[in-house]
Amino acid sequence: MNLLAATLAVPLIGFFVVLFVPRGKAPFFAALTATVVAFFVSLGLVAPAAASGSQFTSVVNASWVDTPGLRIRFHLGIDGISLWLVLLTTLLVPIAVWISRTMIKERQKNFFALLLLFEFGIIGVFSALDLFVFYVFWEVALVPMYLMAGGWGGSRRGPAAVKFFVYTMLGSVLMLASIIYLHSEAGTFDYVEIMNAIGSGRVTLAPSQQMLLFLGFFAAFAVKVPIFPLHTWLPDTYTEAAMPATFLLAAVMSKMGAYGLIRYCLTITPAAAHRCATWVAVLAIIGIIYGALIALMQSNIKRLLAYSSISHLGFVVLGIFTLSQQGADGAVYQMIAHGISTGALFLLAGYLEERRGSLEIADFGGIATSAPGLATAFMVTLFASIGLPALCNFIGEFLVLQGAALTKFSWAAWAATGVILSAAYMLWMYQRTFFGKANERAGTFTDLSARDWAPVMPLILLMVWLGSYTQSFMPPIDSAAAHLLEQTNMNNQYRVELAHPVPSQLAEAARAH
């Protein structure tokens, strides 16, 4: 059996199992089993994808709709970029299940069902090779997340979740318009076929067409990342949602947009991507600095982390739109690193909230003495997040800055201020929370139990591993990104040199290939 199909099927089966088991403990165990099994199955994807790097492996290709005029194939595959994103998802969802057991107080069964449906959607997004299928998974991931964010959490969660859904929907419908338009031009939804057609010159998109297509895709991805100034849904949604939902929003869902940018915006519409690169990079840099400055002023830990997330994701977008090898490598590496470090931060914030019932910084203080374990874990994660060498974010941010410096030095200079600012707001928050005089109103503060450590430990190990031994992760990313940039540049060149059409034999050969 195809391992990718299995990775996708397990959460879906889990979803139906959770729907039909009785309330109580059963949904938790069913969800945990399904997500853990999905994780171990997904480990099998590593070897083939790492071996090939730039080519799609574990390919699933079955007919879904086959009528004259509309042919949709259920086409999935994994390359070096999607590999780690799928693994990030299958690793983090079991952790979300684990912490939901205590952090979600009511209607757990519904929550677990939605969680599994969400995992199904996200894995599909990261592995879809058919634009129609991609769109379907994109929305399938959105609906359960909307229901999770709106169904559990703070008192203003309802309006926050609606804002999230409508914002995202406005972006996605424009992407849908682009997808349909592309279909009418290329005659297929299949990403691989489209790339071959563009590469061989069978389909040429004029610069104006590319710009329309690019803007449609960009709208959907920019809202999801989010890129400044489309970020306004994020702080409300992150703050109001229950912690497991916020954990997944920040750690996994924000990668959907970045993944879309690198996979589709660069390759399908290279000319437009080149033309817009400066603007997008500037927006990304504004996001980096703006997010960090606002984070500096926050009095609530969850809100602070939300804004810090905007800032860190700016690096990912900047890296992609430097259109350089280092930038792309760094962006993908940063996606993984951000998923793990920010995920861990929200997870630890969840423990703080469980213990104190609030996340206002003013309600804490001096808790390092009574909870040294929590303080240590938080410290390590925080260092990883601000990009200390030998921890995960350092590699990504360094490569992104390097790529930016190569493309335009001032970009790197501006973006680097974000790194400094992130150290400032994080350490200041840490100091006010964990050190200083103990808050008198607060009672005792218990340290992390073994059950609390269980999800934290693997994340900390990964932060160190990602930060100190890049060789385990980088090669597939590197070769996939190189392939992607090569396609982008070639298609762009080809478009620019349209005056000299490719000899027909070459096109023929490409078709035969």
């Binding site: 959105l142 609906v143 349909i180």
Partner: protein
């Protein structure tokens, strides 16, 4: 001129669904007089049997398709599709009506007979190939529906609903009839293909033909509730009994669209360039008015009324595309719209309780906790109305916009898609109420849904999901049948 009509058995076969429905409708009417008060619901069962037989007859007629009664009607994939659609709509609406009528103390045979008669009219509209048949079908369908809208005689809102519908509806029919008269005066025929043939010949008559087309556009526009003829729809849907609103928004609307498309895509095709911009503007106005007005609603039935206007706008986009893909998209759209809308109205009629006391959005609060299954099914309908993938509503929207882009209607597509995203806002209010609020008085006192209602809701939900996950079967059929309109 002596008229000699040669009628064969095949003619009767092609008209068999209408005959079956009429026979059963009359039978229900007769038995109404003799049935005892407790047995009235068995008349509903009889009506269901009638619809099932008509459905089978419809399929049988399809096996021997072609024109009948001197080309007054024509049975092909297109007509068969719409006949089947309205029959399914009638079936599901009768299923939701049993417990509703019981609750309101209005269990009578007339109700079921009226639905059957209305279906006769809609079946005629589905297959009509002559303007005379168009008029007859529209009147049979409408008159029965007017009465259904005011069926609960003692209810003030019901009376208002029926009166509004009747007055405005008759006015619109007059426009239609006037348009038919003009066309007959111009070309000397009421046969749809004959009109096309003559219009295609000459330019001199086409300005006046354009005017006639405009008159008929007013008539059809009213029946399918498109802007600027939509004003009646929210009031009527709000005032009528919930199962009747479900019926009106799905069945008569689908049938009216069927003939709207047939007349404009066949007869008025030669003067296409005269009306297509009018339709463009109306499609946009309809979507905008429907969606923005719905944003402000607190009554679920009224909200669904405005939403039904917005959905008519999307179907109109398919007409603007004026291509076979457009026709196929509209067919698919109307089928999935019928299923999801009936489902939504059925859940509303369940929660509404006696006298429809609970029809505000907040009355749905906490349905997710009280009745998880019903709430989940309502969520499926709502997500389908929004157009989320894996539901019929998504594929329907997708085909419509694909058809529009294939006809290079880029702006209409983009504006339509943005509209559909804005629409998400008001539909989500329903989801917020059922899942994110604590149960209110309406849901805490809620009795479990009756068997008929449950079957209707489940069938609509499964149909909606089926169209979303396996659209291929229906899509092949509609794109094949759409060839009839070229």
């Amino acid at each position: 001129m002596p008229i000699s009509v040669h009628v064969t058995g095949a003619d009767y076969l092609r008209f068999l669904p209408e005959i079956v429905l009429t026979v059963f409708g009359v039978a229900v009417m007769m038995l109404e007089a003799v049935a005892s008060q407790g047995k009235k619901s068995s008349l509903g069962v009889l009506a269901l049997v009638g619809i099932a037989i008509a459905f089978a007859a419809n399929l049988w007629a399809y096996t021997d398709g072609g024109a009948a009664f001197e080309s007054m009607i024509v049975v092909g994939g297109y007509g068969t599709f719409f006949r089947a659609l309205v029959l399914v709509v009638g079936f599901l609406c009768i299923l939701t009506s049993f417990s509703y009528l019981e609750r309101e103390g209005a269990q009578t045979g007339e109700y079921y007979a009226l639905i059957l008669f209305s279906l006769v009219g809609q079946c005629i509209l589905s297959t009509a190939n002559d303007l005379i048949m168009v008029f007859i079908g529209l009147e049979i369908s409408s008159i029965a529906t007017y009465i259904l809208a005011g069926f609960l005689r003692d209810d003030r809102r019901n009376n208002e609903s029926a009166l509004k519908y009747f007055l405005l509806g008759s006015f619109a029919t007059a426009f239609l009839l006037y348009g038919i008269a003009w066309i007959y005066g111009l070309v000397g025929s009421t046969n749809l293909e004959e009109i096309r043939r003559i219009l295609a010949q000459g330019a001199p008559i086409s300005p006046i033909a354009g005017l006639a087309a405009a008159l008929m556009f007013v008539g059809f526009g009213f029946k399918v509730s498109i802007a600027p003829f939509q004003v009646w729809a929210p009031d009527v849907y709000q005032g009528a009994a919930a199962p009747v609103s479900a019926f009106m928004s799905a069945g008569p609307k689908a049938a009216a669209f069927a003939i709207f498309f047939r007349v404009f895509m066949i007869s008025f095709r030669p003067i296409n360039d005269r009306w297509v911009w009018l339709v463009w503007g109306c499609a946009l106005a309809t979507m905008i008015i429907g969606n923005f007005a719905a944003l402000l609603q607190t009554n679920v039935k009224r909200l669904l009324g405005y939403s039904s206007i917005a959905h008519a706008g999307y179907v109109l986009i398919a007409l603007t595309a004026s291509s076979q893909v457009g026709v196929a998209a509209a067919m698919f759209y109307l089928a999935s719209y019928a299923l999801m809308n009936i489902g939504a109205f059925a859940v509303v009629s369940h929660v509404a309780a006696r006298n429809e006391r609970y029809v505000k959005i907040e009355d749905l609060a906490g349905l997710g906790r009280r009745e998880p299954a019903t709430a989940a099914l309502l969520a499926i309908f709502v997500f389908s109305l929004i157009g989320v993938p894996l539901t019929g509503g998504f594929f329907a929207k997708f085909y419509v916009f694909q058809a529009a882009l294939n006809s290079h209607l880029v702006w209409l597509t983009v504006l339509g898609l943005i509209n559909s995203a804005i629409a998400a806002y008001y539909y989500l209010k329903i989801i917020v109420a059922i899942y994110m609020h604590d149960p209110g008085t309406a849901t805490t006192e809620l009795p479990p849904p009756s068997a008929g209602l449950r079957v209707a809701i489940w069938a609509s939900a499964l149909g909606t999901l089926f169209l979303g996950i396996f659209p291929g079967t229906l899509l092949s059929f509609v794109s094949y049948s759409a060839r009839a309109l070229r």
